[in-house]
Symmetry: C2
Subunit: 189 residues, 2 copies
DNA sequence: CTCGTGATGAGACGATGTCTCATCACCGTA
DNA sequence: TACGGTGATGAGACATCGTCTCATCACGAG
C-alpha cells in the first residue's frame, strides 16, 4: 500500500467530471471537487494548474502522439500520408471501453464558454504540434499548416463519431474522415 | 458636453493596451487599468466581461462582417467565391492609419497563454460564423467548414502581412492569401 | 532510530468578477 | 423654475480562484 491513497490525480478527474455534470461547471467550486476526492483545494492545484485543466489534461498526450506519428512516417510519405500516419499513431489511446467518456465530457465542455475556450486552445495546440512535425519533414507553409488543420479536423470528427456509435474503430474512422476532407478540399472552388 | 467624460470604453482599451505593454498583462491589475482611464474597477467590468476581453472586443464585428459578406454574395457564387466576398466585406475595418495597432496587440497577446487562449476562441468563433453563413447558402459539410477555415486562415495571414509592411491594402492581401491557400489545398496529396 | 524525501493539510493572501446600494448629472415636463 | 425619471458611475462587501508559505506525516535508506 502506498503512503497515501493512490491515484489522487485520477480521483480528482473523476470527482470533477461527476460534479460538473451533476450541478454544472460554474456552480461547482474547486474545494468541492477536492473534497469529493478526499483531498483539499491546495492539492487540486498541485495536480492541475486551474479549474478547467482537470478536464483536458488527458489530451496532452494526443499532441505528442500526433507529432511522433508524423515524424515516424517513411521519408517518401507525402504530407497527407504523414498526417494519416499521425492519426494512426493515436489509435491506441481510444480503446473501446472508453467510448462513453467522450459524450460525457462533450456535454460538460459545451455548457460553458470558459470550457469551450480551453477546448479551442487545445485544438490550436494540436494543430501547432502537427504543423511543427510536418515542418521538420521539410514540408513548407502553407502546405504544412493546411495538412495539419485537415488532420486535426479529421481527428475530432472521428472522435465524435467513435464516441457516439458502436461501429468502427477510431483508426478506421479517422482514416475515412481524412479521406473525405481531402476529397472536399481538392473539390473546393 | 456629455454628462461624463465621453468614450469611457475607448479610454479603457487604450489604458489596457498601454499598461499591458508597459508592465506585462499578468502584472497589471484591472484596478490599475481603470485608474489610468479615470474610472473604477466596477465600471471596467460594466464595459468588458473580463480582463482579457478589453483586447478582443473590437474583433466582434469581424464575425458579423464576414457572415454578412458571405450572405450578400451572388447566388451563383461558389463556396470560395462567397468566402472571397466575405473577406472583401471586412476591408473597410482596416484603414491604413491603424496599421500599427496590429503588431502592438500581437506582442501583448503572444506574451501569455491566457491571452493566446482567448485568441484561439475568437478564431473558432470566426470560423463558426462563416461556416454558418455558408450553410445558409446551401453549402453542405464538410465543404462549408473547410472553406470557412481557409477563409479565416487567409484573414489572419493577410492581417499579419498588412500590419507588418506598408505595402498592399488588406483587401488585396486577403485575396492573394486565399488564392495561395486554395492552390496549396488542391495540391495536397 | 534517525534523517531525508515527497505528498498533503492548513491557512493567509492578492486578484478576479459579481452584486447591491448610493450618487449625480442630464433630460423632459409641468 | 421645480421636479421626477434615467442611466452611467462610485463605493464597497462578497465568493471564488489561484499562489504561497509553513507544518505534518508516512515511508525508505542508512
Amino acid at each position: 500500500m502506498a503512503r497515501w491513497e493512490p491515484d489522487a490525480r485520477l480521483r480528482l478527474v473523476r470527482a470533477a467530471v461527476e460534479l460538473y455534470a451533476e450541478q454544472g461547471y460554474e456552480a461547482t467550486t474547486v474545494a468541492q471537487v477536492a473534497e469529493r476526492a478526499g483531498l483539499t483545494k491546495a492539492t487540486f492545484f498541485r495536480h492541475f494548474p486551474d479549474k478547467r485543466e482537470v478536464l483536458f489534461a488527458g489530451q496532452e498526450q494526443h499532441a505528442t502522439l500526433l507529432a511522433d506519428g508524423a515524424a515516424a512516417a517513411p521519408d517518401a510519405a507525402s504530407p497527407l500520408e504523414a498526417v494519416a500516419a499521425a492519426l494512426d499513431h493515436t489509435t491506441a489511446s481510444f480503446p473501446p471501453e472508453q467510448r462513453d467518456f467522450g459524450p460525457r465530457l462533450r456535454a460538460i465542455v459545451g455548457s460553458t464558454d470558459e470550457l469551450r475556450e480551453r477546448a479551442a486552445f487545445k485544438r490550436a495546440h494540436l494543430i501547432a504540434a502537427l504543423t511543427d512535425a510536418l515542418h521538420r519533414r521539410g514540408i513548407p507553409d502553407p502546405t504544412a499548416t493546411l495538412a495539419a488543420e485537415l488532420g486535426v479536423e479529421a481527428f475530432h470528427r472521428a472522435y465524435d463519431r467513435w464516441s457516439d456509435g458502436g461501429g468502427p474503430s477510431f483508426g478506421d474512422l479517422a482514416r475515412a474522415e481524412l479521406q473525405a476532407l481531402h476529397a472536399a478540399a481538392t473539390a473546393l472552388h
